[in-house]
C-alpha cells in the first residue's frame, strides 16, 4: 500500500473542518470540567453528609465507567426524558462531566496539601470564611494545581475522537467518512494520528515546563 500525497492534500481541508470541531469541543469541555470540578470538590468538603456522600459517589462512579458509555447514555437517554441536545452539546457535556471528576481530585489535593497552619493562622487573625478562602487558601492552592489541571485538559483533547461515536463530525469522524467513501484508510487514519501527536508532544514539553515552574500536586 502506497502513501498517496495527492490524496492526502485533497482531504486536508475536510480534515481541517473536523479539527475546528475537535478544538471547540476541547475548549468548551475544559471550561465545564474546571467549573463542575470545583463544584464537586466543594460539595465533597461540605459537612452535610447528604451533599458530600452523593458527590463522592458521583465522582467514583464516573471515574469507574467508560467515557464512551457515558456519552451513549447522554446521547440516547436525554431525548427520552425530553432534553434535546445537539450531538456536539451532548459530547461537550459528557467530556466536561467526565473530566470534572478528575479535576475535582486535583482541587481536593491542592486544598488538602496546604499546611494546617495556614487555616489556623487565618482563624487567629480573625478572618471570615470568605476572606480565608479568598486571600489565604485559593491564592496558595491554585499554582500547584496548574500542571495537573493542564495534564487533564491534554487528556481530554486526546479523548475527543470518542465523540465520533455519537455522530459528532469532529476530526476522527471526518477521517472515517473520507476513508469509507474513498475506501482508502491509510492516509486519513494516519493523518489523524499525526495531528494528535503534533499537538500532544509539544504540550508534553509545555507540561514539563509548567511542572518546573509550579510545584506539583501529588495525586
Amino acid at each position: 500500500m502506497e502513501w498517496d500525497w495527492a490524496f492526502a492534500f485533497e482531504i486536508l481541508p475536510t480534515l481541517g473542518k473536523g479539527i475546528v470541531v475537535t478544538i471547540q469541543a476541547t475548549l468548551a469541555g475544559s471550561v465545564l470540567a474546571m467549573v463542575v470540578g470545583l463544584g464537586l470538590a466543594i460539595a465533597r468538603r461540605v459537612k452535610n453528609r447528604w451533599i458530600a456522600m452523593p458527590a463522592s459517589f458521583f465522582v467514583s462512579f464516573v471515574r469507574g465507567t467508560p467515557l464512551l458509555v457515558q456519552l451513549y447514555f447522554l446521547f440516547y437517554i436525554l431525548p427520552d426524558i425530553g432534553i434535546l441536545l445537539s450531538p456536539l452539546t451532548a459530547g461537550i457535556v459528557g467530556l466536561g462531566l467526565h473530566y470534572a471528576t478528575y479535576t475535582a481530585e486535583v482541587y481536593r489535593a491542592g486544598i488538602d496539601n496546604l499546611p494546617r497552619g495556614q487555616w489556623e493562622a487565618a482563624k487567629a487573625v480573625n478572618l471570615s470564611t470568605r476572606a480565608t478562602w479568598q486571600h489565604i487558601i485559593i491564592p496558595q492552592a491554585i499554582p500547584p494545581m496548574i500542571p495537573a489541571l493542564a495534564n487533564y485538559l491534554v487528556a481530554m483533547f486526546k479523548e475527543t475522537p470518542l465523540l465520533a461515536a455519537i455522530t459528532v463530525l469532529e476530526l476522527m469522524n471526518q477521517a472515517r467518512s473520507i476513508a469509507n467513501y474513498h475506501y482508502k484508510y491509510v492516509e486519513p487514519m494516519t493523518m489523524v494520528g499525526v495531528f494528535f501527536l503534533l499537538v500532544s508532544i509539544p504540550s508534553v514539553i509545555f507540561l514539563r515546563y509548567l511542572e518546573r515552574r509550579f510545584s506539583t500536586v501529588s495525586q
Binding site: 458509555v69 486526546k158 479523548e159 487514519m189 494528535f196 501527536l197
Partner: protein, 220 residues
C-alpha cells in the same frame, strides 16, 4: 415480557465475559511493556533509551481510539492482518503499557540511592541488583498506580465495540436496537463496569496489603 429481559441480560453478560477477557489479556501485555519500556528508559545504552522514549511518547500522544482504528484499518493494508480481538489487545496493551512504563521508571528512580550503593558494595551484577534489590522495593510503590492503570484499561475496552468486537458495550447497543429501550441496557452496563472497576480497586488494595506486609520497618 420478563423472559425477554432475561434473554437480553444474558446477551449483556456474554459481552461482560468478553470485556473481562480483553481486560485481562490487555493488562498482561501492558505489564510486560511497562517493564520493558520502563527499564529501557533507564538503560545506559542510548538507542535503547531513545526507542523506549519514542514508544512511550507515541502511545501517550494519541488516544486509544485512534490507535485501535489505526491498528484495525491501516495495519492490514500494510501487510499485518489482525483480527478484531488481536487489534484490541495490542492497542490496549501498548497504550496502557506506555503509561505504566512511566510508573515503573518513576518507582525505580525513587528507590533510595544507598540501596544502589549497597549493591555495588556487594558486587552484584546489574541483573541481580534489579532482580533482588531494586525491583522488589520499587514494585510496592508501583502497585497503587498500576491499579489505576488497570481501571483505565478496563474503561478503554468499551472502544473495541466500535470495531465490531462483541464486548459489553457492543451488546448493549444490540439490545438498544432490538428493544428500542435505551435506559435499561446502558444503565445495566454502567453498573457492571462500575462493579468491575471496584473489584480491580479492591483486589489491588488487597495485593498492596499483602506485599507491604513486613515492610513497615524498611520503608522510609
Amino acid at each position: 415480557m420478563s423472559e425477554y429481559w432475561v434473554g437480553y441480560l444474558s446477551l449483556i453478560f456474554k459481552g461482560a465475559v468478553v470485556t473481562v477477557e480483553i481486560t485481562l489479556m490487555g493488562c498482561a501485555l501492558a505489564l510486560v511493556m511497562a517493564f520493558v519500556a520502563g527499564l529501557g528508559r533507564l538503560s545506559s545504552v542510548r538507542p535503547v533509551r531513545w526507542l523506549a522514549t519514542a514508544y512511550i511518547e507515541f502511545f501517550r500522544g494519541t488516544s486509544i481510539f485512534v490507535q485501535l482504528f489505526w491498528a484495525y484499518f491501516v495495519l492490514p493494508l500494510l501487510g499485518v492482518p489482525l483480527s478484531p480481538l488481536q487489534a484490541a489487545v495490542l492497542a490496549l496493551g501498548l497504550n496502557v503499557g506506555a503509561y505504566a512504563a512511566e510508573v515503573v521508571r518513576g518507582a525505580i528512580v525513587a528507590v533510595p540511592k544507598p540501596q544502589y550503593e549497597a549493591c555495588t558494595a556487594l558486587n552484584l551484577t546489574r541483573f541481580q541488583e534489579l532482580r533482588h534489590v531494586i525491583v522488589p522495593q520499587a514494585f510496592v510503590m508501583m502497585l497503587p498506580t498500576f491499579g489505576n492503570n488497570a481501571i483505565e484499561l478496563l474503561k478503554g475496552t468499551a472502544v473495541v465495540s466500535l470495531i465490531s468486537l462483541a464486548d459489553m458495550t457492543f451488546q448493549a447497543q444490540v439490545v438498544r436496537v432490538q428493544t428500542g429501550s435505551t435506559a435499561m441496557p446502558f444503565f445495566t452496563i454502567l453498573v457492571l463496569y462500575y462493579l468491575m472497576s471496584s473489584v480491580i480497586g479492591y483486589a489491588m488494595r488487597r495485593l498492596e496489603d499483602r506485599v507491604t506486609r513486613g515492610l513497615d520497618m524498611t520503608r522510609n
